[in-house]
């Protein structure tokens, strides 16, 4: 694994998360929440642009961020399953706000720990992106935490649905901390972070939030995973079709 591969996986996480989050614009409970989620998605898209642009520049011949976003096929994407899944509790169910809140809590808590560590990466570009991004994801975590507390410690109905959303998301948490895809040499060189070393801090932060929100930490086994190897869930293809169709139908188009 090269710096390019490592950067690509970080960039794909951010880009696919941003694309999914965009579905909430005009669909959140209130217009204020539309804007909040839209802001979060744009923050992640900004991180993705920096990361994909950097990953592409390390290729020979170099590719642009747009090449990587629009002209790769599903098996070439390296994002985790957490960020690509639809927002419904069940495979056929409607979009669920609790799932959004649960996933945002997981993703932003993980990214906070990751970017905090990457700030001191020996790779200057990664360190620079992380230093800027860590403030953004810290706000995302705050936003998610606010909602988890209110829904978890709200009405019986909101508590039940928040807990159900956590149960639905939790099988996809383990993949974030899987070391299998990270080259130990990158960690030795101080370029990348061994994902499992972020786990303790993540667990502590999550446990604090869930305890305050009167929610239970889900006890469910991990899903199969495979996103880092380019093996994705059924929902990934639909996401890519929507994201890529314009660029592919009109190659070279600008807007």
């Amino acid at each position: 694994m090269s710096v390019r591969d490592y950067t690509l996986s970080l960039g794909d996480d951010a880009m696919i998360a941003a694309q999914r989050l965009g579905e909430w614009i005009a669909a959140a409970p209130q217009i204020e929440e539309d804007v909040a989620v839209g802001n979060i998605a744009l923050d992640l898209l900004g991180q993705a642009r920096s990361l994909l642009g950097y990953a592409g520049s390390l290729e020979d011949p170099a590719r642009t961020e747009d090449d990587l976003a629009y002209w790769r096929d599903e098996r070439e994407f390296r994002n985790v399953h957490l960020v690509e899944r639809s927002w419904s509790l069940t495979s056929e169910g409607p979009r669920d706000f609790g799932v959004l809140v649960a996933r945002l809590l997981v993703l932003s808590t993980y990214l906070c720990e990751l970017y905090e560590r990457l700030r001191t990466s020996t790779d200057e570009t990664l360190a620079g992106v992380a230093a800027k991004a860590v403030k953004e994801v810290d706000y995302h975590r705050d936003h998610a935490t606010m909602w988890v507390l209110r829904l978890g410690d709200g009405t019986d109905e909101s508590h039940r649905r928040m807990q159900a959303a956590l149960e639905a998301e939790w099988p996809y948490v383990a993949e974030l901390f899987d070391d299998a895809y990270v080259d130990p040499r990158l960690v030795e060189q101080g370029v990348g972070v061994l994902p499992s070393t972020l786990g303790d801090a993540f667990d502590r932060r999550i446990a604090d939030v869930l305890a305050e929100a009167t929610l239970e930490l889900p006890e469910v086994g991990p899903a199969v995973g495979g996103g880092r190897r380019g093996v994705h869930t059924e929902q990934m293809g639909y996401l890519l079709a929507e994201m890529q169709h314009l660029a592919r139908s009109h190659p070279g188009v600008t807007w």
Binding site: E32, V35, A36, R150
Partner: protein, 105 residues
């Protein structure tokens, strides 16, 4: 009509109370009213205000106030409230002779 006040607040998402938002654009200036928004409570209102009104570095400080707690003058009282001030020119400091050489008066 938006229902406001913690005692009448419903769980219905349409009934989130209205908050008025004040932003201070930089140190030394006052907070200025910039608009309003809905939020389930003040803490969330502060965050919504950050997302809605300070996206382009408009501010360094935000206040949110639940709109129902503001006591406002009413348009019907306009005449008795404001018109009497119209002809009181002696309330403006225009009757002083300003000595030459005084710059900051």
């Amino acid at each position: 009509m938006v229902s406001t006040g913690s005692t009448t607040r419903e769980t219905n998402r349409r009934s989130w109370p209205l908050f008025e938002v004040f932003v201070r654009s930089r140190r030394g200036l006052s907070h200025v009213h910039v608009g309003s928004l809905h939020a389930p409570d003040a803490e969330m209102a502060l965050r919504n205000a950050r997302d809605l009104y300070t996206r382009r570095q408009e501010g360094v400080s935000i206040w949110v106030v639940e709109a129902s707690t503001i006591t406002a003058s009413s348009p019907e009282e306009k005449d008795s409230f404001f018109d009497p001030a119209a002809d009181k020119i002696y309330r403006h400091p225009t009757f002083y002779d300003i000595p030459e050489g005084v710059e900051h008066l």
